[in-house]
């Protein structure tokens, strides 16, 4: 396991005050919150920030972290020093309820056990609900799919100690699901304490970006480039859809920017979404002499002013 420099996460020196840490966290958290940020790495960056803040905002955890931290550099191989558990963790203050359980191995090694032992004080409590995010492909929303996910869950070993274990779960992704929606898997969260029931697992669904299709709710969009003559004269062309190729009729006189709707070809549901082809017109380059001649012939054949609304005369 690698040592994590939580100060580096915030770009602060070890001497930073609690106020400086709070300010740095808030500034970066606003920037990287997945619901706010467009940064492709927002999700993982935000998770790192949350973990670093959970340690540094708490003076007791910070002191403990500083004690080990002074001997390591970021990225170095790390093992908690012997006797770590005995030295630290008897104050009964774990991570706040509501903090994500999906912390790094490093955090887990330093603070995980302490956090869980606090939670166990209530003898027969229901296990906590757990959250995870699963990325699927657009086609999975069209057809439904099965996804294997792995979760880190505390379990009891033969000696009755709680240890973090990777748990694999095969999840059925229902047809028609949309990005941003959540699946609730009853009883798949944290195990209960004593005779308490297990919590639930909430899976947030995200779509992997697709090079061709864009999604808004149940509607799907694609750019459809056309040659000028295809748009002007109309044509029937094969168009890719998430479910396979469809023959689409382009009406004569189609302008760039026009959207052709393929009803019900979006993400299935009640009602199903639509698939929109957004027409773009691509100008063929006039490279060869033949091609130039064709453009000249067009210019001659048309009585066409591309700028009827612009007057050439200066005002």
């Amino acid at each position: 396991m690698k040592f994590k420099d939580y100060y580096e996460t915030f770009g602060l020196p070890r001497t930073a005050s609690q106020d400086e840490i709070k300010r740095a966290y808030r500034k970066l958290a606003r920037k990287y919150h997945p619901d706010v940020s467009k940064d492709p790495n927002a999700e993982s960056r935000f998770k790192e920030l949350g973990e670093a803040y959970a340690v540094l905002k708490d003076p007791e955890k910070r002191a403990a972290y500083d004690q080990v931290g002074s001997q390591w550099k970021s990225g170095q191989d790390f093992q908690p020093p012997p006797g770590w558990d005995a030295e630290f963790g008897h104050s009964g203050r774990g991570t706040d309820a509501g903090e994500d359980l999906d912390q790094s191995d490093f955090f887990e090694a330093l603070f995980g056990r302490q956090a869980r032992e606090t939670r166990q004080s209530n003898e027969h409590a229901r296990g906590e609900d757990q959250h995870a995010k699963v990325m699927i492909d657009l086609i999975d929303a069209y057809r439904g799919a099965q996804r294997g996910i792995s979760l880190r869950t505390p379990m009891r070993d033969a000696q009755g100690h709680v240890v973090m274990r990777e748990r694999r779960l095969d999840v059925s992704i229902p047809k028609g699901i949309r990005a941003g929606q959540h699946l609730r898997l009853a009883g798949q969260g944290q195990p209960g304490y004593g005779k308490g029931l297990a919590g639930d697992l909430f899976l947030e669904i995200g779509f992997n970006p697709h090079p061709q299709f864009r999604v808004d709710g149940r509607d799907v969009f694609l750019d459809l480039p056309l040659a000028p003559w295809e748009a002007a004269l109309g044509c029937s062309i094969p168009v890719p859809t998430p479910e396979g190729t469809l023959q689409l009729t382009i009406p004569a006189g189609s302008a760039a920017g026009r959207q052709l709707r393929m009803k019900g070809k979006g993400i299935p549901g009640d009602p199903s979404g639509d698939l929109y082809a957004l027409l773009r017109i691509v100008l063929p380059p006039a490279g060869s002499e033949n091609e130039k001649a064709a453009y000249r012939a067009m210019a001659k054949a048309f009585d066409f002013n591309a700028r009827p609304f612009m007057r050439g005369d200066p005002p």
Binding site: E128, L169, V171, L185, R214, G217, D223
Partner: protein
């Protein structure tokens, strides 16, 4: 240790198939009932039902409650501010969705 089950686990789509009770929403978001009640009163969360015991949370409530918790706990925004921020974020998300209909990013 692996305990992958042979049958894939099926879940329910929260936004479409479920109506969460106050207790369920609180458990799901690891948040106190008092927080959720305040957010409902301030209009940050919409609810069906008259009294908290009968409340049912539908649609985007889970996502909004998770976000409300973050705004409250980490940014120390007060409940009216949370309601405003959530509405603005929804507006921005809707505008961005409209924008990307027309242009590949």
């Amino acid at each position: 240790m692996s305990n992958a089950s042979p049958q894939p686990v099926r879940g329910a789509i929260v936004e479409e198939e479920l109506q969460l009770t106050l207790v369920e929403l609180c458990q799901a978001c690891h948040v106190s009932e008092q927080h959720v009640i305040t957010w409902v009163i301030e209009g940050a969360l919409e609810v069906v039902g008259d009294v908290p015991q009968d409340w049912r949370f539908t649609g985007p409530s889970l996502r909004r409650a998770k976000l409300a918790l973050w705004l409250t706990r980490d940014l120390e925004i007060n409940p009216p501010g949370v309601a405003l921020a959530l509405d603005l974020l929804d507006d921005i998300a809707a505008l961005q969705a409209r924008l990307q209909r027309f242009a590949a990013s």
